[in-house]
Amino acid sequence: MIQKRVAAVAALALGCAAPPRTPADLPAARAALEEARRSPFAAEAREALLDASASLARAERDQRREPGSPEAFDSAYVALRDAERARVSGLYAAERAALAAQRAAVSRREQEIVERDARAREQARQLDAHRRAREARDAARREALARANTGGSIERDPAGTRLRISADAVFWPGSAVVRVDSYASLGAIAAALRAGPPCSVTIEVLDDAEGYGLDPRALAHRRKIRLVEALTARGVRADVFEPSTRRPPRGVELDIVITEQAIDGAPIAP
């Protein structure tokens, strides 16, 4: 009897001294699973969450059935890892979504680059075609000027195409009166100006020839006006004529300088 009492007291004492252990992984697993469930991507990790829930349920059951047993510890360990896996699975779903979005962005931008390059190639092609057409028309204009039979010269200089003719071939000497026999040549020059690509025209007249009752600069000015009138009367638009410099460059006689408009400013169809 005494022995039984001693044994009971000893058992009670031992029980108080060493309460059943709870695996540290168990509360950690509960917290990890709760975190995984709260993840914005929890819906994408449904299977892993189900696994983790089942593992945690088993760990709780094992701990209740045999607190602190090796099996309870194993189950808590597994529950914690499975909960962690569920959380990572949610992150994986998030990364997959980000990857899909970035792939779509790459695909969209590649397509944009392809389309942009195609547009640029088409613009370059149109510009080139435009340039070739202008070159052909310019060449045709030079030929037409050459056929104008002015007795002058045609030169290319930085300002453009320069048709240099003798003032006496167009005007009566010492006057601003246009010679009748130059009408055909003026008509041919006007036709060449009308037919060529867009251009501006500057007329430069030698200003050191004495006129009848006119000083050389006044004569040069009047000849310039008469020549513009003669060309506009033959169909050349008045707005193509540009004012000339105050003093004509060295070597000028009666120069018609044709300057093409900048090709790069040409309008291109979109």
Partner: protein
Amino acid sequence: MKRRALILGCSAALGGCAAASLDGAIPAAETAIARAAAGEGQAGEDLAASVYLALARRELAEAYARLAIGDEGAARGLARRARADADLAAALAAEIGARDAAKRTSDHADALGSELAKPPRVEAPEGAR
């Protein structure tokens, strides 16, 4: 020495039979480890995934050792731990692989955005001045 090897061999053979009876814990761990090892390349040099995979391998080896001496309870527990660690390693590897791929793709998208901001490089047509 030969005697010890013989005992270990017999134990392993017995362990092989017992493995099937451990509620499939050992085959599950083996499968999980194989899957994690296959995905190890995705993680590159990620430490966490490698650590969990190494842990899983060690636990499985320990499970076999326990099985060899007839400690099925411990073997089962270790195999279950190995399975959980290997699955976590595989999940980490997949997540890191996806994150790296997303980062690379994002960088590529940024590079394309920069390319779009530049004027196009178009060769002049043949014969153009």
